[in-house]
Amino acid sequence: MAQHEVKLWSALRPFAQGESSVRIKARNIRELFARLEADYPGMVPLIRQGIAVSVDGTLYRDSWDTELPAGAEIFLLPRIQGG
């Protein structure tokens, strides 16, 4: 299982000792959130509220089955609203 550097937007950083990214082993978004919840319990409420995941520039809000290819850029962002 690939280890990913997962980049955090500012609201998540306080729960990761101020780091701008964390290293996580995960095959897909579901595993990513599960690991994040286990390793950084402070993030749980935000994850439950909804976080969007950018995988190589494509935003995923709900598709937790989306695979995280090795070397992909993974960025966590707020779950946005539209008009």
Binding site: K7, W9, G57, T58, S63, L77, P78, Q81, G82, G83
Partner: protein
Amino acid sequence: MTADTKFTGQTFKSVGTRPLRPDGIDKVTGRARYGADIDLPGQLVGSILRSPHPHAAIRAINTSKAEALQGVKAVITAADLPDLTNGNKELFDILDNCMARTHVYYDGHAVAAVAAVDAVTARKALKLIKVDYEILPHVTDVDEAVAPGAPVLHKKCFTQGVEPKPKKPSNIARRSEFGHGDVDAGFAKADVIIERTFRTEQTHQGYIEPHACVASISPDGSGELWVCTQGHFVFRQHCAELLGMDVSKLRVTPTEIGGGFGGKTHVWAEPVALALSRKANRPVKLVMSRDEVFRASGPTSATSIDIRIGVTKKGRITAGDATLRYTSGPYVGMWAELGAMTSFACYDMKHVRTVGLEVLVNRPKTTAYRAPSAPMAAFAVESVIDELAGRIGMDPVDLRIRNAAKKGTRSSYGPVYGPIGIGPTLKAAKEHPHMSAPLGENQGRGMACGFWFNFGGQTCTDLNIAPDGTVSLTVGTIDVGGARASLALVAAEELGIPYDQVRTVVGDTSTLGYNDMTDGSRGTFSSSMATIMSARNAISILKERAAKMWDIPVEKVIWEDGCAKAVGKKHGNLAPLSLAEIAEAAPNTGGPIAGHNELVADGAGVSFATHICDVEVDPETGRTQVVRYTVIQDAGKAVHPTYVEGQYQGGAAQGIGWALNEEYVYGDDGRLQNAGFLDYRIPVCSDLPMIDTQILEIPNPNHPYGIRGVGETSIVPPLAAIGNAVSNAFGVRMTHVPMSAPRILAALDEAQAAASEDVETA
């Protein structure tokens, strides 16, 4: 998502044509039923009592006189909508906004409601309700709300996102930050730096149809709701949760919708109508007046934005920094955050930082308005970019092309971009004949870029083959501007049948699985994806049935041009079976034929636009008229190009209104001064020119047909494009939207005064 939704580069027969829309006839003959057109037997008229004060504590409400009035069947207050939100802050805010509990937070905040036999009785009853208010100091202005000593709306509001947690409460509910690099280092490399503060005023989505619904709750606890909404499933969810109902016991039927633009993504009166119906035990119809729509349904944010951008003489942006204050009404939102994310998204920047501050004020709860929060941020950024181009003597389009974000660029909000399309829109703008057309006296030309995210979301569709081979497609996203036609085109394309053979309807919440709101430009993007998958699902069944009819293995059957065809040496000579023939035989080959799909349409892909605009300013009055306008935007693939053009034109017109006229005006008393279309002036026909459009088609890799959302981005560039045009006409930099005649006149006078001073000192 299990299905493969990647773009395959296919060519199209139906998609891209311009057939007539299926709901057209009903809409030109007056037959289409909108929110206020639904009537139920025995229905009562509901009406809401609203606070005249911008900020007050509710000491007591006495409803006894109203209840005693003949013809009044129910009177409700917050006590009839008890708090069942269980610590869910977002839901509690929705509840408190629908019916004030301990405090009113804005002029127009609901405090009580009645249901009566007719409108006259309902109005009389409202007058008999006595509310004892303790008036509190208020603040409506974004800058005043963050100033020291401002009245604080919520004593428990300590700015989130700040470490350590602030000791004192304030009206800044949340701080968010985006960016990368080292902005100070970036500014050190700049030859020219411009720093400015911009303000934009609050606008309303301005849909012509006021909110309207009919609610009916039966004594067994089940209920029905007819409502004009952008998301009937979300309305069902919120209403059921607020009323303590089982979600599946509330059936929500969406009516035709007379415009939404984000404003009908939120429940306002629907929970109130349901609570009234529950108490009165009769159906209740509740229709907002225009005054209520302005005072109490969601406008966009008012903003104040500090911006600083540095550039080298050669036209490379070295750094950008922005602080964005967005009002969110009395409840925290993510409006400044969206502004912070989108502000520099068009550009490739090494050093960038944006900070968003959500500001609480005594104004109605802010709600999404088409590409929410992006137009204001773009106004600030695109104005400064243009000014920088002038300062270094570079063409503003070239400066933008030079710095345009492209594949591999780290976006200002974080991730690295995949294949994106700002470059092509800029290039198209540069080559567009509009760019080089001559200008008349007192005219100026401006251009600007815009960005919006777009998204997909949960979606499902049902595709049923009727016994005669015609197809009915049921979708769960609301048709706000021609989506039924587009989705019928997609189904026809996939099935290989004529457009006329497909009829699309929007299903109610009991006939279809859950669908997210029609927002984020997602309607056609995501429902088309689900429709394609439904059709493929149906085709595999049709092939099985054909195989049975021929008595050959299903592997020997293909689907082509709306027919099952047998292939291979042995069966290749069988005559094709049409959809109608297979449908007719269905009873004896396994029963009805239908295709379904449920999916999450993620991967919508970001969207960019470039607009060009010519204005003419009357130097005597400051009155500004847009005389030519061009929209250039990427649609991925335009399913029905006419309606894509319509989206581009409509968004541009809304942006033009925002840029030049529209604003909420509050008096010192905290009351809205212009809650009507006479004083809140949206563009009329004689205010606008034809709006030219150029549709670019750069396929979206994450959609089987390459489709992208098109609904929102077109409202993003106009504010800046018009500001830049005014600036180019007269050399004044407009920093306050709307650029109404008095503001433009003041800027012109100021510039003139400065110029004559220069002459004197010279």
